[in-house]
Subunit: 389 residues, 2 copies
Amino acid sequence: MSTTPATSIWETPMRRALELAARGPAVDPNPRVGCVLLDAAGHTLGEGFHRGAGTPHAEVAALADAARRAGGGEAALAEAGAHRLPAGTTAVVTLEPCNHTGRTGPCAEALLEAGVARVVIAQTDPTPLAAGGAERLRSAGVELLTGLLADEAEQLNPWFTQSARLGRPVVTLKLASTLDGRVAAADGTSQWITGPAARLDVHRQRATAGAIVVGTGTALADDPQLTVRLPEDDPARALLRVPAPAADDASGSATLRQPLRVVVGTRELPASARLRDDAAETLLLPTHDPAEVLATLAGRGIHHVWLEGGPTLAAAFLRAGLVDRLVHHLAPALLGAGAGMVSDLGIGTIAEIDRWQLQEVARLGDDLRLTLTPGPAGPHTPTPSGEDA
Amino acid sequence: MSTTPATSIWETPMRRALELAARGPAVDPNPRVGCVLLDAAGHTLGEGFHRGAGTPHAEVAALADAARRAGGGEAALAEAGAHRLPAGTTAVVTLEPCNHTGRTGPCAEALLEAGVARVVIAQTDPTPLAAGGAERLRSAGVELLTGLLADEAEQLNPWFTQSARLGRPVVTLKLASTLDGRVAAADGTSQWITGPAARLDVHRQRATAGAIVVGTGTALADDPQLTVRLPEDDPARALLRVPAPAADDASGSATLRQPLRVVVGTRELPASARLRDDAAETLLLPTHDPAEVLATLAGRGIHHVWLEGGPTLAAAFLRAGLVDRLVHHLAPALLGAGAGMVSDLGIGTIAEIDRWQLQEVARLGDDLRLTLTPGPAGPHTPTPSGEDA
């Protein structure tokens, strides 16, 4: 998968770059990236990481750091791009430098201007738009090394990476039901089918997403707030952390983001709906087309969508083939009647069954969490007619 | 739980008695029992185990073995009861000797007549009918020691033990469904929702039961054979083994039993139904009352019932509180429509949800097997109203 050499003198600085990258916001329109600049003798000239959309890319932050360390002071910082690095400088960066102009200029150009002689890259850029930086550098005569610790670099930005490959946000469908697939009792009551551990897990999983999506049916029936609410000491709070642009390192000040709340459907939300409070931004999308929902969210830089129901919206995404992952909280209980987990999927006969593959089974208090990915296309191989029930 | 002393000189002979017991049929109207007779110096005088209903109890088998070893030959064997053991003889037996006359006389009396001085017992008899043997022996002046390796002895006969405590057969309800609780697609087709490993597991689990029960609905819709069909080398075949009365040990000849097939309901089975073949005995019970079904099966010496559906019969047993264990084969698949796993349970609102407790989660090929026992009576503790979805 990667072109990593068995050992490399660049492994130590790359691990440092990965450490720096991890200080960036885990869920952001932009990936987390770290960069280390080294002189020909291997001494660090500068370091940087990306602090989130609208702030400098990691390479530019490292160049600014190098300018500051070189003694330029505030004046030099203001024109960091102009700082010239010593001959033989190597840039070690966790993601291929971008080659396009977004809110910031292309990093490949910035490295070239600063006179970098060699660039060591972990992950090549999976996005068609930003890719090409490596080629730009190579054609300008820069020595290039790619694939070093590429798997670790991918793990920093799993949703960004998978989303780039899919060309749309990754969609996780959250399900919660009894053993017999009920999400509510006969009278519509549903609080609570799962226990406190499963409900805490929902908040942790919401924190991994850029957007939490429900249909108007769920919004009207349950009046959910759809925010991430975690105890102060919960490790998943790190997923909400957005470092302040000025903060020096991981211990620096930060704000906590909330995922975008999205309501899909044409029915009106009452003014009193909790989704209209100011705990987080809410986007109303008057459509029934899952592809349209994802296109809108992709346009907002969202890589991972946490789809929380209800049965109609879940079925619409499943029918469209736009669910990449199921997280099913299964309560060891029976109801015998009440609403089902997903609405009609258009499956008429057993040969058309929609199979998934179990990736993980975890106990959450009294409940189970099943994590699944799309399975083989067809049903189980039929067995000889002699084998019956 | 047991009165086992920390160490006991009787542990070695008791382990031998447990070994002997395990040679008996695992599923039988009678429990598996082993017995070792030792003289005052600790030398074995005789050994025996129970080979199944209609054959001598373990104590009587051990007495006959002692008579034979004492050199009496065929004549002495014919009147084994009359053989007098040396003074100071100890009987080590895995289950409290019975005190009632069934197809054989009470074992407590047989031990007394043979002049046993001490009886060491593992498990006390859990059945009201046969119990009292220990008290009979004690009142006759025999030294008594109970509880040695009692847990191991119980494990030999789990269904017998639990059934004796319940006063009726233990009922395991077998369920198989998709994640959304469907047991068939919209057009009624259902072969196969689960994979080959789960279907093999069904045959292994059937082998643990004295009876396999279905409703007429399932019998008519699926025309199942309801026999245990296992590969030649499958270890679960041991559960079907009934040793021949004359066989000397575990390597001796044996026949394979099939569980009783039971069809509950008032609809007629066609003459062509596979349940009418001669692969196993079939009992038709024209009733809808689960308690009546269990009383009938208890009367036939059945300790464990494997209830295989369908949804209506499952609901009837669940509503009657007559299910002790769920075995749920869960296929990682969705159907969106089709028949549900259990019919109406009379549950109107979430507070009445029927909770179970997960005892085991196992992977069976692509599927999961959940084993559950009845859970706490009430629903999960409600959380403060501030906590929402």
